[in-house]
C-alpha cells in the first residue's frame, strides 16, 4: 500500500523532508528518514529531498477501464427562483476553454420548473453547445438530496468527462453527494482550472485558509468534478451564442421524492447581505467604535453598489448579524474591491478576504496589519473619512 519509499542507501538523514512535510508525517529515526502514521503520501518530501532518496512506488491500481467513454464538459446551471445564477456564466466562460482544449462539447445542466425560456436564452447568448434541461415541479427549489439523485442519474447516462458547479451553498451541498454516489473525486472551491498534457483536469485551490495552494488531479475516475469559487472566473461576453441545442430530459419520478421538506424561505431584508457573490464589499470592524457607526459603512457600500461585510469582532459584539461575517469562521470572499474599515487585519480575517482583487484599508492605526495586504490605504478617522469618501463616490457616479 505505501506509495512512497525511502531508499536508505541514499538518505542523508538531513531532515529537509521533515521541514517540508505539511502533515508532520515523517521523522528522522536514528540517521534515516521514516514515515509516521500521519503521513498523507502527498509527496512534498520527495521534492524537498536533496538526495533523491524518496521515490514514488508504482501505483498498483490499473487505470480504470472505460474512462474514454466519458466526454464533454458539464456546468451545473444553478438557478434561484428560475433565474440562472451569474456563477453559471462564469463557469460557462471557463468551461468553454476546457472544452475547447479537450475538443469536446460544453453542456449546461439545468434542473428546474418552467425554465425552457431561460434555457433557450442561455443558448442564444452564450457559447454553450447543449443544455440538458430536467423539468419537474419538484425541482423548482433546490434540495440537495433530490438534485443529487437526478444529477447522478444523468451523469451515469450521459457520461461527462468534467463536471463543474459554483462553490455556493447549493453547489457544495449537492455535488459532494453526487461524487459519492457516482464514485468519483470532487475538488472543493477551486480558483484555477486547466488541462494538463495528459488531458487531465488540473484543479487548483487554496487550502489552509489561502496560505497554501494545492493542485489536485482525479486520474482514474470520471467525471472529474470541481466546485469553483464564485467571482474568480470571467463570464463570456453576451452575444457569443453558437446555436446550441436544448435537450429536455424526463426525470425518473421515484428519484424526485425528497425525505426532507422545505417549509419556508425568508430572504434577508437587506439587499447587502450576499457577500459571497458581491463584486464590491465594504466591511466594518471594531474600529468603528459602536453599532451606530456601521451606518457609515452601509452608506459607502450603497454608494459603491456593494454588499456589507463585517469582522468577527463586530459580529461577536452584536453590531452585525453573522451572515455578514468575513473570515475563518465566517465566509471567504473574493470581490473585485474589498474595503476594510476599522478592521485591524487579524490573520483570521485576512484568510477570508486576501484573494480579493483590490483591497482598500481605512484605519486610524498606521501599523495595523491590514495595511500589509492592502492595495491602497488611508490612515485616518473613520467618522471623518467615510462620509467624505461616500460623498466623492456619489459625486463621481453623478457625473
Amino acid at each position: 500500500m505505501p506509495k512512497l519509499k525511502i531508499i536508505s542507501d541514499k538518505c542523508g538523514g538531513c531532515g529537509q523532508c521533515v521541514d517540508a512535510c505539511p502533515y508532520d508525517g515523517i521523522e528522522i529515526a536514528g540517521t534515516l528518514a521514516k514515515f509516521k502514521d500521519s503521513c498523507n503520501w502527498c509527496g512534498t518530501c520527495k521534492d524537498a529531498c536533496p538526495f533523491e532518496a524518496i521515490v514514488v512506488e508504482e501505483d498498483k491500481a490499473p487505470a480504470a477501464a472505460g474512462l474514454d467513454a466519458y466526454k464533454g464538459v458539464w456546468v451545473f446551471g444553478e438557478q434561484r427562483d428560475g433565474h440562472i445564477q451569474r456563477v453559471v456564466l462564469e463557469l460557462v466562460g471557463e468551461g468553454r476553454k476546457l472544452a475547447d482544449a479537450r475538443k469536446e462539447p460544453l453542456c449546461v445542466l439545468v434542473l428546474g420548473d418552467k425554465m425552457e425560456g431561460a434555457c433557450k436564452k442561455l443558448l442564444a447568448d452564450y457559447p454553450v453547445d447543449k443544455v440538458y434541461y430536467v423539468e419537474a415541479p419538484e425541482l423548482a427549489v433546490f434540495e440537495a438530496e433530490v438534485y443529487g439523485k437526478i444529477c447522478a442519474d444523468l451523469i451515469r447516462a450521459k457520461k461527462p468527462e468534467i463536471m463543474l458547479a459554483g462553490a455556493t451553498c447549493a453547489g457544495r451541498s449537492f455535488l459532494s453527494r453526487v461524487a459519492v454516489e457516482v464514485h468519483t473525486g470532487l475538488t472543493a472551491d477551486c480558483t484555477g482550472l486547466a488541462i494538463n498534457p495528459e488531458g487531465l483536469l488540473m484543479q487548483t485551490r487554496p487550502a489552509f485558509g489561502g496560505n497554501i495552494m494545492a493542485t489536485i488531479l482525479c486520474p482514474n475516475h470520471r467525471p472529474q468534478m470541481s466546485t469553483v469559487r464564485p467571482r474568480v472566473m470571467k463570464p463570456p461576453a453576451a452575444g457569443t451564442g453558437r446555436g446550441g441545442t436544448l435537450e429536455k430530459v424526463a426525470p425518473d419520478k421515484a428519484r424526485l421524492l425528497s425525505r426532507s421538506k422545505i417549509l419556508d424561505f425568508a430572504a434577508e431584508i437587506e439587499e447587502t447581505v450576499n457577500i459571497a457573490e458581491a463584486d464590491i464589499i465594504v466591511s466594518g470592524g471594531r474600529g468603528l467604535g459602536g453599532p451606530e457607526n456601521f451606518k457609515l459603512v452601509e452608506d459607502l457600500a450603497k454608494a459603491l453598489g456593494g454588499a456589507v461585510g463585517s469582522s468577527r469582532a463586530a459580529v461577536d459584539a452584536g453590531w452585525k448579524p453573522y451572515s455578514h461575517q468575513v473570515g475563518q469562521t465566517g465566509k471567504t470572499v473574493c470581490p473585485k474591491l474589498y474595503v476594510a474599515c476599522g478592521i485591524s487585519g487579524a490573520v483570521q480575517h485576512l484568510v477570508g478576504m486576501q484573494s480579493s482583487d483590490t483591497i482598500v484599508a481605512i484605519n486610524r492605526d498606521p501599523d495595523a496589519p491590514i495595511f500589509k495586504v492592502a492595495t491602497y490605504g488611508i490612515v485616518g478617522d473613520l467618522k471623518e473619512v467615510l462620509p467624505i469618501l461616500t460623498r466623492k463616490i456619489l459625486e463621481r457616479k453623478g457625473k
Binding site: T184, I212, A266, Y376, K397
Partner: protein
C-alpha cells in the same frame, strides 16, 4: 425520546499560523498548535445541548493519527459522553471520498439517530465530508444549520443559513446536519469535565473493526491526488495615503477610478 447523537470532529493545525516559505517552497510548521476545528466545536456544543434537553447520548468521533486523541479529550471536557478514535495506517492519504466512507462505517458501528458535523474544516475547507457521510449511510441532510427549531420523534426542523436568506427545512430522522457558527456559543470546559477528559478511556476503531475492503481505504480508496502544493503569490502592501481626510479621499477615488474599480 432519547437521541443517539454522533458528532464528527477533526483535529486541525491552527491554520492561521501555517505559512509557506516562498523561497524554499516548504511549509513552515514551527510552533503550529493543533486545535479542534472551530466549526466542529459548535457541532459538539449543539450535540451536548440536544442531549441535555432531550436526553440520549452525545458521542464524538474523529478519523486521524493517534495524536488526534487530544482533540477528542477536549470534546469530553465540554460534555461529550463518549469518544471514538478511528485510526489506522491504512487510512493515510484519504481524500474526502475515503474519509466519508470510513467515518460512515464507524458511525454505523456506533449507532446513531442524528449526525452533526461542522460546516467545513479550516485546513481543507472542503465542506464535502458531511454530505459524503450522508450518502454512504443513505441519509437526508441539512447543511449550514444555524438553528434547530424543533426536535420531534421522527423529524426535526432546522434553519439553514444560505447566501440570500434563511431556509427552514423539516428533515426526518435519522439524518445529518452541518452547522455554522451562529448556532450557539460553545461552553468552556468545567473542572469536572477536565477531570473526566483526563481519565476517560478512549474507544478505538481500526480498519479491521470496520469491515471495509482495503482497496476502498486511504490513498487507494481516494479518487483525487494532490499533484503539488505551492505558496500563493505574495501580496505586497501598497500605497497608503495620510493627512487631510479630504485629500486622501480624492487620491483614493482617483486611483480606484484610474484602475477601473469604481
Amino acid at each position: 425520546m432519547a437521541l443517539r447523537i454522533v458528532v464528527c470532529i477533526k483535529q486541525v493545525p491552527d491554520t492561521t499560523e501555517v505559512r509557506m516559505d516562498p523561497v524554499k517552497g516548504t511549509l513552515i510548521r514551527e510552533g503550529v498548535v493543533s486545535i479542534v476545528n472551530p466549526f466542529d466545536s459548535y457541532a459538539v456544543e449543539e450535540g451536548v445541548r440536544l442531549k441535555e434537553k432531550h436526553g440520549g447520548t452525545c458521542t464524538v468521533v474523529t478519523m486521524g493519527p493517534p495524536q488526534a486523541e487530544q482533540a477528542l479529550r477536549d470534546c469530553i471536557s465540554v460534555g461529550a459522553d463518549e469518544a471514538y478514535l478511528v485510526s489506522d495506517r491504512a487510512f493515510a492519504g484519504s481524500d474526502t471520498w475515503a474519509t466519508s466512507l470510513t467515518l460512515a462505517a464507524a458511525i454505523r458501528k456506533i449507532g446513531f439517530d442524528l449526525i452533526i458535523c461542522g460546516k467545513q474544516a479550516i485546513d481543507g475547507d472542503t465542506a464535502q465530508v458531511g454530505p459524503g457521510i450522508a450518502v454512504h449511510l443513505d441519509l437526508p441532510q441539512a447543511t449550514y444549520a444555524r438553528k434547530i427549531r424543533e426536535v420531534g420523534e421522527k423529524s426535526m426542523i432546522i434553519e439553514r443559513l444560505l447566501e440570500e436568506g434563511v431556509e427552514t427545512m423539516e428533515m426526518p430522522l435519522p439524518g445529518l446536519i452541518t452547522v455554522v457558527k451562529e448556532i450557539n456559543e460553545p461552553r468552556l470546559p468545567s473542572l469536572k469535565g477536565k477531570m473526566r477528559a483526563k481519565k476517560y478511556e478512549l474507544k478505538k476503531l481500526t480498519a479491521a473493526d470496520l469491515d471495509l475492503q482495503p482497496g476502498k481505504l486511504g490513498l487507494d480508496g481516494s479518487p483525487t491526488r494532490v499533484m503539488k502544493i505551492f505558496a500563493p503569490p505574495p501580496r505586497a502592501g501598497g500605497e497608503v495615503f495620510k493627512g487631510e481626510a479630504d485629500q486622501c479621499a480624492d487620491k483614493l477615488v482617483a486611483v480606484l477610478a484610474k484602475n477601473g474599480v469604481v
